[in-house]
Symmetry: D2
Subunit: 354 residues, 4 copies
């Protein structure tokens, strides 16, 4: 395996390049008998889809998923679920300028060196279109997690951030604006900033925060496969991610034990939750929350100098359709990966308990 | 598997509890013919060992590793390397007070709920003694990585941090002070602060930065098993870790693309390195660097209220031997896990190339 | 994972049901830069395809493979190779009679009990159409194995068997008759027998022998993943297989050590080869050969009594298109699985050697 | 990983060489709360141990297992179970004659070629002492399988075989004779034959049959990880095994469908059981039975010609302590591997069901 599979019992394998015939995947290990909510799956794909608003890329594709196996009369059969989304709106001509040149801070150079050559059209395998398959699998994973809700939202764009704890936010507002920020004042600022950045032909980074409620006590394995370690790997495997922290995160590293410890209530819940819902790698029943850092999109509409395969300096300017800020569209991807991780641990945990 | 194994081709399985007969592990997949440098392994164990200085726990154990297999006449044979370190200095009586009570922000509660009961002595499996096995495997992994150097150091303790880029530091000074900080002025402040914290019966968090030089282009797999995703998982699997960032990390999320992009030199190296040596999940030959956040040790020498199994409120105060600040001893563990990740990708990469 | 993946480095995941939209798979870990011989792949699919001769099922489907990813300008890119073959000639109506009834010696009963219900059309996931994906992957695996030739053939049908050692056979004759038996006299007898069996509305079992030449010394891992153990698992995972033996096999169990030992020539080859080319789980450079037993197809055109879901006795007679003898079509599947196993060990072995 | 691990959820990793300090392993994934029956474990080790009777090797070692982790106050904790058995009775001097020479039909040559050198003492990693770890894990696996009984026995030695179906045998007699054959008349013949073979300085092969009762419907995964495919791999991974068949096996390949089909009773059981308790890779609730072929031990006490590392012809005669026939001691190993396979599928199956 070359790293295109994720999960032990609930396992996703993805395939597909940006400008090939299709992207897709296989979900192996989905329990049988689940009445599949297809609308919910398409809803998640629509959230991820480009071209939805003025602040994201204008590549418009329907991104309709086609299931090839594993579902019969609307229910999962226990067989592997093969699926694909056809690539219909490729403008490969947009990419001729990078056929021989390496875009700065893209995977062009490393792919060429690792594999000897690359499918350069639209980034090929390194394109964020690969995340379509994650969103499909995540939408199914959500459906097997009883009573668990997963909400991600944009918590910062550039220097603009939500200045409130997540408990003060109304998650029903996440989808009320293009930037997917549940705090409307902050959302407006973010949106204005992204538009300005776009005008400059530039891009900007941001963070996504994710809050998971209703996780039963006991998910996660204590040594290498700690719940937060798998969540971290899952998030870091999303394109453009530079960091992951959960609970108190990097702030926790500045604190004292006497401040940081979460004292117990008599029912086993805790008075505070700097732990982020996980102790020793195992969920403790409190909210799980974490934050993911995304770098600015590397493709900018400004001229940059770079090199070609022969090491010659060439000038390059972004073409094609690109997001000025990736975080709004990253929200459903973060949720999807979280759902996949939880579904996997949920199944593993069932196997060990009576 | 319940998460006690790590790695695809260079694979470590660990076992052992703090107060059981031994901790140890099995390394499967170490190439044959390696002349094992046993001193280097013991040296790493000594760095991790408690009782080395005034600022760490005083539990003194020789932590001598005993190899049980896989090495013949000083060389690896290609067979699995079984090893163990006996637990010789347990004071299990120190832990009677937690037999029925749950220490705040420890794994006591989650283990009890997940497994039905727990080996409470010294934290059992959740003890940081488990990391001994990682240090052994990491020390061997280092020996199969040609021309790669891995240096971790303490970059912050509480609010005190090194105010310089890593390029300005002299890594040969890391071991020159108890806190493992290569900037001696900062190290002194850290040390003073830790001693003060200890006097208060309190603990404090910190961060470890790791810099890896000499990594060839091409390590890492592009989708789920991105090089930084595996590094992130590896770090997050270390006890007490709350966050991981590489390259520009969380700061990168505030930047613009025009600032963040690493422009190429004609030889394929880059002028800046905000990418942290990884593009699209694959090493690009530049320095890899990342930062790991550790929370303050949960066991404090102050009285805290907590609950017992029956949900009764009980008072508790830390006993036994505990670190006021875990980061100095975490340094060799961070290096070990980085070495294991790199060794694994190094072997995987060999299999695909001509 | 629920067992739909095979292989460590060269990994195949399959999906698809007999009467769903498509069968297909994902190959993860195929090295980059391979010029894909598409004709060779289609050739193998044609060998497996039904409707080729008077002695196999008359279901006629073109079985054309469509590649969805991982290949660019005719060469593998190192990205996962997604592929599918559409199901075009389903006659699902043929299967209404088994919707509620369990065919004897089929998987109907066990699927229903394990999963709660099943896709009954054409056997659903348990159909031999699943092997299409194996044949595609095997045809690619063959292309990455330098200098290795894999030849399988029908060595027995019912009581009729080839009465010669494989060394006396001309493998170029395998495809010269419908039964895929390289000994023409025996082939004629087999063919006549299969036609007779078909007239009776009955079916018959048989064996396939496989000979692999040119395997370098060193493939296979010595403990659980012995080369012959993986070959055995691969063969036993093919529908209808009841047994596997390699080298001297079950006959070897009757022999004395003084008869069975393969004495060395001075160049490391052996004078005899009762070992079947494998010592201690590792290839020794001699021919690898093994034999696979297939039971008679369970669907017969005679009336049988069976039960329905409620436990009522019902009468049933095979309908649809079925093989009177499965072994001729099993030949390319056996070769495919052998190629996948060898490709995997070939890549693993590369990772450990200098 | 280099093939020293087995199992997905109930996972065993083994280590150790014949003449190193110890053999042992790690069981990862054993459910918590199991009251470990230590006597039952030692009992299985004693059955495997050499030196028990006149017909097996006289190497006498206590083979006492020492548990290093994962068990607390007599119960499994859910943590990995590390264990070892010290090697106490090595006579390494016995092996000086093979330091540079390759024993025919042993792994000496393939190890040397694969790894560059080898631990030649007692066969090193290729020694059957590795199976000690399997027996320990199998004895624990048996304890988590409710209501399942596993009985293996010697069904043939050379040309002497039990001429009865297993249903006619009394398994309580298996341990009543040294050869572990439940049919006493046949057992006597086998024993006499083995003694005669030993006098000749020769060895002989045989078969072990295994019968598993009480398996619930539903264990096994339908595509690659069929229940019988994993059982087959498990058996073929035991030293000296040349073949595996289950249910009708190789005989089934001679039969017609009308003879071979197992017709149902109204309760879902079947009138016959040529299927061997497995349909479509999934247990159907009937007895599972299979047969394993073992070649004659390669080390004989007669002079043989062989070659040394330099390709020179040398004469060699077996020294040390060796079994004239391996099958009696293989009986507990076959049972152990069967138990490990079943425990793994039992846990996997739990994860998918409600």
């Amino acid at each position: 395996m070359a790293g295109n599979s994720f999960g032990t019992l609930f396992n996703l394998t993805t395939f597909g390049e940006s400008h090939g015939p299709a992207v897709g995947g296989v979900i192996d290990g989905c329990p049988s008998g689940l009445e599949v909510n297809f609308n919910a799956i398409q809803h998640e794909l629509n959230r991820r889809r480009p071209g939805q608003s003025a602040i994201v890329t204008q590549r418009k594709e329907p991104d309709e998923v086609q299931f090839l196996s594993g579902i019969f009369e609307g229910k999962t059969t226990g067989a592997p679920i093969g699926f694909m989304v056809q690539n219909t709106n490729q403008k490969s001509g947009d990419y001729d300028h990078i056929k021989d040149a390496y875009r700065p801070s893209h995977a062009d150079y490393t792919y060429d060196k690792k594999y000897g050559f690359r499918d350069y059209r639209g980034g090929g395998r390194s394109s964020a279109r690969e995340t379509i398959s994650r969103v499909v699998a995540g939408a199914i994973a959500k459906q097997i997690l009883p009573g668990i809700t997963i909400n991600a939202f944009v918590s910062s764009v550039g220097d603009i951030f939500i200045d409130k704890p997540y408990q003060a936010l109304d998650f029903s507002l996440i989808e009320s604006n293009d930037v997917r920020c549940p705090d409307s004042t902050t959302a407006e600022k973010m949106e204005a900033y992204i538009k300005e950045i776009r005008k400059q032909g530039d891009t900007v980074g941001g963070t996504v925060t994710c809050v998971i409620k209703g996780v039963p006590v006991g998910l996660g394995e204590p040594a290498f496969d700690k719940l937060h370690a798998e969540l971290g790997k899952a998030m870091l495997s999303i394109n453009a991610v530079k960091g992951f922290e959960y609970g108190s995160g990097f702030c926790g590293a500045k604190m004292k034990g006497s401040e940081h410890n979460d004292l117990f209530n008599t029912d086993g819940t805790t008075k505070s939750n700097l732990s982020g819902g996980i102790q020793g790698g195992i969920s403790n029943g409190m909210d799980i929350y974490f934050r993911v850092a995304f770098k600015p999109v590397a493709t900018i509409m400004q001229e940059q100098e770079t090199i070609d395969k022969q090491g010659n300096i060439v000038k390059m300017q972004g073409r094609g359709r690109h997001d000025p800020c990736v975080v709004p569209r990253a929200v459903p991807i973060v949720e999807a990966m979280a759902a996949i991780v939880l579904a996997d641990f949920y199944l593993i945990n069932k196997s060990y308990t009576k």
